[in-house]
């Protein structure tokens, strides 16, 4: 009975949402006549004052950089809340719940793959302003590399203090670059380095710097999350 009512409610809600969005239309320009869509201005300014190839990066880091600062804070808070919820006194570090032992294919393969994954992640977040990618994507790839090593080896460990130092330093870099913008242009997060030539590595002012800091931060945080959850010693097993 409850399932039937829920399906009915969902059908009504789904019809309501779908009807509105179908009406808006897919693939056609759908702005009203009097609108001056900001996307045109963003695309124009990305080419000219900013000289950044990836328009999405310029929006995320420069035009709407404040949102990105908030998002980095959300990640930081999520890791803090995770640590707070799972906190136990007499925390036994180094004691993991191991479900199974890895075969030799996994152990030798992961030793080969790990540097390649880290390199790929670093490439993605350093070139965030030139090709699709960026700090968040690169950071997640790096964390995947650490996950591989943590799953393959029983006694592989990363120092929790080192992760927390990297995380804090990267966050301070981001907020610090924002505050430095005050001295050069007068507003928070303003771009104060020269823009360079488009499609070069050193272009876009502070955008690569911020994205590199974000890449480190996300990689450190996600690794910390995996590490906290892996060291969760259950009361019934382990």
């Amino acid at each position: 009975m409850k399932k039937f009512l829920v399906i009915l409610l969902l059908a009504v809600l789904g019809y309501y949402i779908a009807d509105t969005y179908f009406d808006i239309g897919f693939g056609q320009p759908h702005f009203v006549k009097s609108a001056a869509p900001v996307k045109d201005i963003y695309l124009a300014k990305t080419q000219n004052p900013l000289k950044v190839s990836n328009a999405v990066t310029s929006i995320v880091v420069n035009f709407r950089g404040f949102d990105t600062l908030g998002e980095v804070t959300v990640l930081f808070l999520a890791v803090t809340v995770l640590g707070s919820v799972l906190y136990k006194k007499r925390h036994q570090v180094g004691e993991r719940s191991v479900l199974f032992n890895s075969s030799s294919i996994v152990t030798s393969g992961s030793k080969l793959l790990f540097p390649a994954i880290i390199l790929l992640g670093a490439y993605v977040f350093i070139h965030g302003h030139l090709s699709p990618g960026g700090g968040f994507q690169g950071g997640v790839i790096i964390a995947t590399g650490f996950l591989l090593m943590l799953l393959a080896y029983e006694n592989y460990s990363v120092s929790h203090t080192a992760l927390s130092i990297v995380e804090s330093l990267a966050g301070i870099t981001f907020a610090g670059v924002g505050l430095l913008g005050f001295m050069h242009g007068g507003t928070f997060l303003q771009n104060f380095l020269p823009s360079g030539v488009m499609n070069n590595l050193f272009s876009g002012g502070v955008i690569p710097i911020i994205y590199i800091a974000v890449g480190f931060k996300v990689g450190a945080e996600l690794t910390g999350v995996i590490y906290t959850v892996l060291h969760e010693k259950g009361e019934n097993n382990g």
Binding site: F63, Y87, G171
Partner: protein
């Protein structure tokens, strides 16, 4: 210029990233630095508010791009007043929880103060921002801090209350994003002033759908009926100061968001009546539920939900007197409810169930705390000469001006109901014999100072309401004038 609004966000974020590093040097810094940050922000907010009252709103652009290209913060009389209130309450909550009640270790204390600072910063961000997606990000910051703070104690039920909160908060974010995208797909912009300027060109069907989704999403945070299922449990399971922070800071930010959408951004005709109806329903249901509560904090939570319903009714009048009454109610409620949570925590300190019958006879052992709780109870019911009397009076005046006799009657009836369940508790504190099994716990020095400060403010506002009414009049004028807001934000030159 003494400082800019973005410092309200930038300084706490910088401090939040620094605190884990500082904690490795000296552990006490973890408790001290949030206090320094909050004190500095309180002074900054008072300075900015004085400037704004004399010269007009401050609009600050971020990243050097003027609106509507970039994001902007708006510190007007209305938002500035709320920021001062939130920073002040935040400082008091920090001071109250400085020496923790149960001795917690270093790591949980670090996380507690971080989450508390982020809760306050997120709420201040919701109030200051001028961009709808930015408001979504700040709502998420506030919500995640709230999830963590609710689950802070290790008892059996706190994780469950927090999980319920997570589920409802998640649905709130979903609806909020849907509503934002409907507006973006039509108008191509995310800036509040720009949307307000162009919204008359949007199809009415889209406006209605978008507004309903917005109110649903924000209503979950603002605890409107029927979206407040998570609230009583979250208030009951969270630590006492956190309950005060929720009631005094987070809910105010959510109500601000609803009001900003209704008054400034959307131009639909039935929205004010809609606010009155949901406000009335929330008020009636919450107050009747409060009578039946056995646990002290749940009773305070339902009372808080009811007061927010009354605030929405007052905003729904649509007149300057209505907005003035609503703001006065918000101010008084924030201060009085915080005092009730603070003192109530000590009255049921050592009991596990925190039931009302366990406060019997506490007046002999905790005389000052009991007196302050009684003061808060009388103030919130609206007895003269305490603060709550003036705010309820202004609600009745605004209702009379709009010829809403039914609402005047309702407010009187609800006040009587509140009198019943609050006096019940005060009666038990003073005139019953203490339960033998409950040990009273004396408040610490910092907690006592905080409670006395709040009590003093209640008395000051009660005897001399003109101290605050000037600011409230300017704040309500600032909200009512929509075209002034739009003009002020959009006229900035690159």
């Amino acid at each position: 210029m003494v400082g800019t609004p973005v410092l309200f966000i930038a300084i706490p974020l910088l401090a939040a990233f620094l605190i884990p590093l500082l904690g490795m040097i000296w552990k006490e810094l973890v408790r001290i630095v949030p206090g320094l940050v909050l004190t500095y922000l309180l002074i900054l907010s008072v300075n900015l508010l004085n400037h704004v009252l004399a010269h007009g709103p401050i609009v600050e652009v971020i990243a050097g791009w003027v609106p509507p290209i970039g994001i902007n913060l708006v510190f007007s009389a209305f938002s500035g007043f709320l920021v001062v209130l939130m920073e002040f309450l935040g400082l008091l909550v920090w001071a109250y929880s400085y020496r923790f009640k149960r001795n917690v270790d270093y790591e949980p204390a670090l996380k507690y103060f971080l989450m508390l600072m982020m809760l306050i910063t997120g709420s201040v961000g919701i109030v200051l921002t001028g961009d709808i997606f930015n408001m979504f990000v700040f709502i998420e910051i506030t919500s995640i801090s709230a999830y963590g703070l609710t689950a802070f104690y290790k008892g059996r039920n706190s994780a469950e209350a927090s999980f319920k909160y997570v589920m409802m908060g998640s649905i709130a974010s979903t609806f909020l994003l849907l509503a934002i995208m409907i507006i973006y797909s039509q108008l191509g912009t995310l800036n509040m002033a720009d949307i307000a300027n162009r919204i008359h060109t949007m199809k009415p069907a889209y406006k209605i759908v978008s507004y309903i989704f917005f109110v649903t999403a924000l209503g979950i945070e603002a605890e409107i009926f029927p979206l407040n299922g998570w609230a009583p449990d979250a208030y009951a399971e969270a630590p006492g100061p956190v309950g005060a922070a929720f009631a005094g800071i987070v809910v105010k930010a959510a109500v601000y968001a609803i009001i900003r959408y209704t008054y400034t951004i959307f131009d639909l005709s039935g929205t004010l009546n809609f606010l009155i109806i949901i406000g009335m329903v929330t008020l009636i249901i919450a107050e009747t539920a409060a009578i039946r509560q056995e646990k002290l904090k749940r009773m305070l939570a339902y009372s808080s939900i009811g007061q927010m319903g009354l605030v929405l009714v007052a905003f729904g009048f649509g007149t300057k007197e209505g907005v003035f009454a609503a703001l006065f109610l918000m101010l008084n409620h924030a201060i009085i409810k915080s005092l009730l949570f603070f003192s109530g925590s000590y009255l049921v300190y050592n009991s596990t169930e925190k039931r009302i019958v366990e406060v019997n006879g506490m007046s002999k052992y905790l005389p000052i705390t009991s007196l302050l709780f009684a003061l808060g109870a009388f103030a919130i019911v609206g007895l003269p000469p305490f603060a709550g009397f003036w705010s309820k009076l202004s609600v009745m005046t605004a209702a009379a001006d709009s010829n809403m006799i039914l609402i005047m009657a309702l407010v009187l009836i609800v006040s009587v109901v509140e009198l019943v369940y609050y006096l019940r508790v005060v009666n038990r504190i003073y005139f019953f014999k203490k339960e033998a099994s409950i040990e009273p716990h004396r408040p610490t020095i910092n907690a006592m100072v905080v409670m006395l400060v709040l009590g003093a403010i209640i008395l000051v506002i009660g005897f001399y309401p003109d101290a605050v009414t000037g600011i409230l009049h300017k704040a309500s004028a600032s909200l009512m004038d929509k075209s002034y807001y739009i003009h002020h934000v959009l006229s900035l030159k690159q």
